[in-house]
Symmetry: C2
Subunit: 356 residues, 2 copies
């Protein structure tokens, strides 16, 4: 745990300090586009088994780092570990999204929810963090993560995926106090979970609010952002997590970037539907930005990938405070060689931008 | 065709002229949430049969107007009529989205595409327009519509729905000239189709760019907006359509509202993920705005529906140039009585805003 970090580009960029080049990591960098990932997953038997066995989670976390010059590792896990630990019964039907056997539908269901035991049901996560951190041995920093309260609640109330998550929205509008009771226990759980990941060795923390963008701006502030801010405050108040940069990513909530930056987070993830120049203007350069290449670009030719990567970096417009990423996860159809093209181009062009 | 229009609120609002109250119509106002629609659809046998029989299309178009004080009718049809008429073989599998038997995959497929015959394969559409216009007898104006070139191409190249429409994006990036050849024949087809609807009696024209928001802003301008502008220019150049207001709706493309307003359209549809005040600022009040209540609101209580409707109207901030609508279509689970609550509140509060 005390091995010095040999590549601190990510942490420096998140603090908006100068770096020799632009750091890059990719959402779902450990995933189905990699043959070695598919092999490990086959051995594990299922996605959940893979996430729940620390050795296997460690193995797939490191796979993309062995192939590409990525500047961060991110814990291999799922955003739905918390509701699963709360007893909702998570499963992934073949080719389908997540399903909960016991969705949360009423006041009694919500009253039963409690912050899970980090040394109990969720021990496998902190074990994985410790193992990965140890195996990394200072190569790059390790990012821990969790789903946001709003996004967890979307799945918990719906019982799975949904086109519009109207069940949770209806709960929020018709019974806001009850909705906040649900979102509050989730916020306390996420904060506890992220503190535990920090204590186990995570060096940066990211919160994925995958469905925040399904809300209009006013509803987003009330039902998603309020509880994101609650988590950031809790992380700042705990000695184990207070030094770690926090990255918030609410996909599609581009109308609310300024409000998100005001939470005290270090950085915002940005999807590809906004120019980074406009995003920077919106947050008044108060936070670092992480993004935002359209993930479909990785299915184009190497020439296109290089051009579009440079366009993202030119759009951001200065060399500090930018962590290169996709605007969403790597998709399974991507050729791994295209990821190499991207990573190498970002580093090369990042040096050019710095006059090296 | 010469019956005077008794309710011209929509047309006046689209021209940003004063009205006695705020006009309202709803995307998918003729749809599965209405029991009378489900009965007609059952008689028709399928969604496509319903759309392709002018008498049945007319019947369902008028159904919501018989229930609610809506200020416009919109042709009941599908956005994919054009590629179907181009010979791609459209079908809707039970409970699934649209499928094309013969997707467009290469240069030869694209070279074969031609503007469909409006008096041939697409005659059923103009017949429906004539019939509906006649049956409306001046009650409210009739909106004709089409899918955008980008959105049609998404389905045509993919062969159906998709998570990310990466096939078309890849075509655009790797072979932009070929992509523009496809988008150009679609733009010419859409323009011809909308002119034919205008000639048959449509009084306003809307273009649905359902997947424009899947593109980053630069790609949106090149691959969606350029061809929307081409259509608007063609409509302005034709005596049969030049007087009709054109509404553009690119769901999710909120970063590009100013660029869309510059096409010469009369109005923009706006989804619910941006405040109308910000949307107005973005377009510098150069066009009318149509929107933007979160469609899930219609599943909340009447009290919430009224409050949220007023919030949308207050957000727009002035009484002219606003056409109330949802930010997307009415969903099947909605109680029709909630639509009544919404329509009546918009009219009542619109009168209050005007000091009546």
């Amino acid at each position: 745990m005390t091995t010095p970090l040999r590549n601190d580009r990510l942490l420096r960029a998140l603090r908006r300090e100068p770096t020799d080049t632009t750091p890059i990591w990719l959402m779902r960098q450990a995933g189905r586009y990699l043959p070695e990932y598919r092999a490990t997953r086959e051995r594990a038997g299922s996605f959940l088994a893979l996430a729940q066995h620390p050795e296997l989670a460690c193995e797939v976390t490191l796979q993309p780092l062995d192939r590409f010059e990525l500047d961060a590792a991110i814990l291999f896990s799922d955003i739905l570990t918390i509701p699963d630990a709360m007893g909702l019964g998570l499963s992934f039907a073949h080719g389908e999204g997540p399903q909960f056997a016991r969705p949360v539908r009423n006041a009694a269901d919500i009253a039963r929810l409690a912050v899970p035991d980090m040394d109990g049901e969720l021990r496998y996560v902190t074990d994985a963090v410790r193992l990965i951190r140890n195996e990394l041995a200072g190569r790059v920093p390790l990012i821990g993560f969790a789903g946001s309260p709003w996004t967890l609640a979307c799945y918990m109330v719906e019982g799975g995926g949904s086109r519009d998550f109207a069940r949770l929205k209806t709960l929020c509008w018709n019974e806001p106090a009850l909705a906040h009771q649900l979102l509050d226990v989730l916020a306390r759980s996420v904060a506890t979970y992220l503190v535990a990941q920090a204590a186990a060795g995570a060096q940066a923390l990211m919160i994925f609010d995958s469905w925040g963008g399904m809300l209009g701006p006013a509803a987003f502030r009330e039902f998603s952002l309020r509880h994101l801010a609650q988590i950031v405050a809790a992380l700042k108040a705990d000695t184990r997590s207070r030094e770690l940069p926090v990255i918030l990513f609410s996909k599609g909530a581009n109308a609310s970037l300024a409000a998100m930056a005001a939470t005290g987070c270090a950085a915002l993830g940005v999807d590809w539907t906004i120019d980074l120049a406009d995003a920077r203007k919106a947050v008044n350069s108060q936070v670092a930005l992480q993004g935002n290449l359209d993930p479909a670009t990785l299915r184009a030719t190497p020439e296109v990938i290089r051009r579009e990567a440079r366009a993202v970096m030119d759009g951001y417009g200065e060399p500090t405070g930018h962590v290169f990423n996709l605007g969403h996860g790597v998709t399974p159809e991507v050729d791994p060689e295209n990821v190499r093209v991207l990573v190498d181009e970002v580093h090369a062009y990042g040096r050019t931008l710095r006059g090296a």
